[in-house]
């Protein structure tokens, strides 16, 4: 930290002080902030893969699902109800500390990333996109169907009764949504807000440290020109794998947080659309631009909530009571779709301008189809 600017101090203060004030208007507002923070975490993870390294991952939500289900299985009575031998071994349930579950979720999701990445990363980027998309769908299909003959995921019903996070012996759910913290009554959503804020802050710092490290420079080099990067002595395969696993780990951790916050997980939450939502956040903020991605995620997480308030009334004002044709959900999808097209066409470096080098990335002229024949694709033999 070279110089602490006044604006930064003000932003930090606002992040710390505003939510409790907002909370007086209703817990729902703070809840929106909590979800925005979860999306920020997800977007930061995807940004490592798509933004820094230039690998399009369309199954990112699968890692989120892995983290969420891991937490759900470890923190709910579901497995105990299903398997007698687990009940016999651990009659009280697992009750694993979050200091174990969160890193474990990151590790396992990261490992899944490695498993998926290893066979596919030698391929060109657009193939990777499709394979990851397929992987995301496979994970969802399994979550949906692994309730028979052995009930692991409880199928489409999902897993409920998930214990909330508990930090230093204090459960974040509190009693009736209020936690007694040294005599202060803190609503549960607010407690989650501060925990998520802390984790998001750590994630942001990690991303900055990563991108300015040797690893981060290698990632960017791969993104700009993989062959040149290889020629410069970068082990492109390992670096791409690392990016993939790192992004997946972010996804896994945020998945765990999501499960604990929501208290319920089901395959519904992990559709392809969610992957696209996270991608839209990264694209909107600017690929590879950490500040942009954070703002993009916050915007795209908050705007739909705002839409919910305005879309129906505006239409009813023009068309009359009960005649609204577009509901908030449709408006949200439309927004994501057009945002991705519009940003790519007019502001490929995102809404929030990043450093100059990245901003002028797309200006270099390339022939009709760049690299006419890809060496990997032609020479690769089984």
């Amino acid at each position: 930290m070279k110089s602490v600017k006044l604006s930064h101090v003000l932003i930090v203060l606002a992040l710390l002080v505003l939510p409790p004030i907002l909370g007086t208007a209703g817990g729902a507002w703070v809840r929106i902030l909590d979800f925005a923070l979860l999306y920020i975490l997800l977007a930061l993870g995807l940004n490592i893969v798509v933004g820094f390294t230039g690998l399009l991952d369309l199954g990112f939500i699968a890692f989120y699902a892995v983290g969420a289900y891991l937490y759900a299985l470890l923190a709910s009575p579901h497995l105990l109800e299903q398997f007698a031998w687990i009940r016999a071994a651990l009659p009280d349930g697992f009750h694993v500390s979050i200091w174990v579950t969160l890193p474990l979720a990151g590790l396992i999701a990261g490992f899944c990333g490695l498993l998926l990445g290893a066979p596919t990363l030698k391929l060109r980027g657009d193939y990777l996109a499709i394979v990851t998309l397929g992987f995301g769908e496979i994970v969802r299909i399994f979550l949906n169907n692994l309730n028979a003959p052995v009930n692991i995921t409880n199928g489409p019903q999902g897993i409920s009764q998930i214990e909330p996070l508990s930090l230093f012996g204090v459960s974040l759910a509190g009693e009736r949504g209020v936690i007694d913290l040294f005599g202060l009554a803190v609503p549960s959503v607010l407690a989650y807000y501060y925990v998520l804020l802390a984790i998001a802050a750590v994630a942001v710092v990690m991303c900055y440290r990563l991108v300015n490290s040797r690893t981060g420079r290698a990632w960017k080099a791969i993104r700009e020109d993989e062959i040149a990067a290889k020629a410069m002595g970068i082990n492109t395969r390992n670096m791409k794998l690392l990016a993939f696993a790192m992004g997946a780990a972010f996804g896994g951790v945020s998945g765990s947080l999501f499960a604990s916050f929501q208290g319920f997980v089901s395959p519904e939450s992990f559709t392809l659309f969610e992957s696209i939502v996270v991608l839209a956040m990264v694209v909107l903020g600017g690929l590879g631009n950490i500040r942009g991605v954070v703002i993009g995620a916050a915007l795209l997480a908050a705007i739909p909530e705002a839409l919910r308030l305005v879309v129906i009334p505006i239409q009813e004002a023009f068309l009359g009571q009960g005649n609204a044709v577009i509901d908030a959900e449709v408006a949200r999808q439309f927004l994501y779709g057009t945002a991705m097209v519009g940003i790519m066409l007019w502001r490929p470096s995102g809404l929030i301008p990043g450093s100059g080098a990245e901003a002028k990335k797309s200006s270099a002229p390339v022939p009709l189809s760049d690299e006419v024949v890809t060496p990997e694709l032609v020479t690769a033999k089984p």
Binding site: I130, E137, L272, F334, G337, P367
Partner: protein
């Protein structure tokens, strides 16, 4: 044995649908190296247009025979899909032709989502029933069951593929397409209007997609705003399986994928002791995709890279 043959037949029917959609992917990919993500949604738009058109025709001319209505709806679907696809190419892909590879892929996803949303606004989230225009009574032949719709699907797909093969092999346009996909730069130096070729590829692909949309709608009697996405993905898998950029590969890959899926879904239950059931049908395509890309990224017929169109 009859069951096995029935599965093969079902596989061929689904497979020929995949083949037709895969052709759209592979032609565009062969020339632009772009995965046209919105292609599956063009299929959906085709089905939706046919739904509207068939209803309108049936109310205007109730005495027309069903087959004529179906043929007219196919024409309507093609008439909507082709301009739509060309507009998409013009608006969302052409400006990005010199951009990094990721950019058009992201706009393609955005277009796909936008198309789905627009159709969802028009038709709502529900499934709609597609009118049965040809006799629904299945035909039995030595224990094998096939519907009239499915016979039409098989015949039409075959006709389309033969026509496309002739177009590519025998006509001036086909030679231009082959040249462009081999080397766009040299092709344009030799006086080929590559933009025209690109539009041609999008146009033919969209026409086939529109037709396939009607086939899907008529075969399953249901249409839905999301119906194009999964078939689109599978068709892409088929294109990769056959060797992307290779039209014959796409035809072949579609049929193979259809067979794999149909046999896989039919026999996975007994094979795994009912641990995995036929509801895992959708994962076969993705498993095939991952396997092909890992073991033989050029696809089954990929060695003819120079000969793709």
């Amino acid at each position: 044995m009859t069951e096995f043959l029935q599965q093969i037949l079902n596989g061929l029917i689904v497979g020929s649908i995949y083949s037709l959609v895969a052709l759209g992917y592979t032609m565009v990919y062969g020339i632009l190296q772009l995965i046209n993500f919105a292609h599956g949604d063009i299929v959906m738009v085709g089905a939706m247009t046919a739904l509207l058109a068939s209803k309108a025709i049936m109310t205007a001319f109730p005495e027309l025979p069903g087959a004529v209505v179906l043929a007219l709806s196919v024409l309507a679907a093609v008439a909507v899909c082709v301009p739509l696809s060309l507009i998409i190419e013009r608006v969302a892909y052409r400006p990005l032709r010199n951009a990094p590879r990721l950019a058009p892929l992201i706009t393609a996803i955005g277009i796909s989502l936008t198309l789905q949303t627009i159709v969802m606004v028009i038709f709502g989230r529900n499934y709609h029933e597609f009118p049965s225009l040809v006799p629904q009574q299945p035909i039995e032949f030595h224990g094998l069951v096939i519907s009239v719709t499915q016979i039409i699907i098989l015949v039409l797909s075959l006709v389309c593929m033969v026509c496309l093969a002739l177009l590519i092999e025998k006509t001036q346009m086909g030679r231009m397409m082959r040249a462009t996909s081999e080397n766009p730069k040299v092709a344009s130096l030799l006086g080929i209007d590559t933009n025209k070729v690109v539009l041609m590829a999008f146009g033919i692909g969209a026409a086939l997609a529109g037709l396939t949309g009607v086939m899907l709608a008529a075969n399953y009697s249901l249409v839905h705003f999301y119906m194009g996405f999964i078939p689109g993905l599978k068709a892409f898998t088929a294109a990769v399986l056959g060797g992307i950029g290779n039209v014959y590969g796409a035809m072949f890959g579609g049929l193979i994928l259809g067979l794999v899926e149909s046999l896989g879904a039919g026999y996975i239950g007994p094979l795994t002791n009912d641990f995995l059931g036929s509801h895992y049908q959708d994962i076969f395509a993705f498993v095939v995709l991952i396997a092909v890309l890992t073991l033989r990224p050029t696809g089954l017929m990929g060695e003819r890279v120079a000969d793709r169109a």
